[in-house]
Symmetry: C2
Subunit: 268 residues, 2 copies
Amino acid sequence: MNRIKRIERIIAMTKILIDNPHYLFSFRYFCEKFQIAKSTLSEDVSAIKNSMDTFGIGKVETLAGAAGGVRFVPGSNDEEDQKFLVELAHKLSTPDRILPGGLLYMTDLLCDPQIVSRLGEIFMKKMYDLRPDCIMTVETRGIPLALLVARAFNVPLVMARHGSSVTEGSSVNINYVSGTTKTIQTMTMPKRSLHAGERVLIIDDLMKGGGTAHGMVKLVEELGAVVVGKAFLIEAAEPQDKIIADYTALLRLYKIDEANMKIDIKPN
Amino acid sequence: MNRIKRIERIIAMTKILIDNPHYLFSFRYFCEKFQIAKSTLSEDVSAIKNSMDTFGIGKVETLAGAAGGVRFVPGSNDEEDQKFLVELAHKLSTPDRILPGGLLYMTDLLCDPQIVSRLGEIFMKKMYDLRPDCIMTVETRGIPLALLVARAFNVPLVMARHGSSVTEGSSVNINYVSGTTKTIQTMTMPKRSLHAGERVLIIDDLMKGGGTAHGMVKLVEELGAVVVGKAFLIEAAEPQDKIIADYTALLRLYKIDEANMKIDIKPN
């Protein structure tokens, strides 16, 4: 009976840790919740840690001391991540994704919860050291991806809008040139969504010339916050000259050949 | 040693089930993955099931027979859900959320991954029997919520846009009257995002008169799909006459009193 109970307790602990990525639970929290001694908790945490290591399904970190505790850091192993990205590139290469004008249809994949969950964890693993306070994106297509990066980091998402929104109070606007439409556009962000000094990680689905990303950087700076990183699911090989530097991209789109219906996209 | 191994295996199984809500894993999948007999798997699954029941952190369902298997259905118990909604209503009631024009600022809460994750599971529990094939919303503010409802159901999200988008191919447009801005607006949806006969659950953050929701219903019908449900985080008490019927709302916004800086919002 006791043995069953131990298993049930560890399952519940696993679920709680997974549901709250990066959140540092004090040892006391679990000791009190499950009415166990600290030595017992240590054994339980070791079991979870070993399992995650063995199966490559995330990490459990323990911090000693008065301010210590235990936390879950999501992420598969690098090999699995690479396999996932190769498969994703393959899915993005089917000829029926070519839209008039040589554009790539990818909204369906960006709205698939399983795919964006997995991508969120991959981005988090790569950007872990940046320790962002929040994730930023601009509407619309990149929102699901950015939200699940935010979920993997367990930090809030902030969204810039095109034009201004009446439902978000006073805001800051900037103008930028979008590479896709080649027009001057306005991007706006509610003042209360970012605070001075906050560390912001910019996430978007596609980066061509970097105009939109550059707009986001300017918005963050206008609000007194700090861009600690810029990461994209896909970077286009063309144009070669980008307005922004120091970014990360998981996939690289080499060419969309409309005449021969071929898409060349590969993991970076 | 064997005992430790059993625990590690069960932890990994728990993680896999949680990461794939509603997905029916065949018994064979786990037997082969962990190299165990079916009787051993049954014991493992029982332990996970018991733990989830004991701690109210979700459900594990097993289906017998050749097409059978095991799956995880997320969701806390009703009492915890209710407590969460009371707290959320409380957070939404702080006077600094009142924007000029008597609007409610709630983007921050709708972009908090923990909050929308939890809401996603609550919506899923309430709408479980509708068995939607996909979740639909319209940009922008409701996207994070709708995505995590989609994640809880483990089905895709589809997004309608305002105006038309050049990056999504041929699309269907409809006009509708938005209650917030009192103007005729256009809503658009790429043709390839929905297929005829698909069961669609509409999700949005706020419903006032129902104009926007009605627009979404019309879009779904234009594409030959079927609306199986309409659910909102918040319904406004005013106007009392809604364009749509048969909907679910978790919270009810009774009044925003701009003069006295008071917001009256409660769980339904």
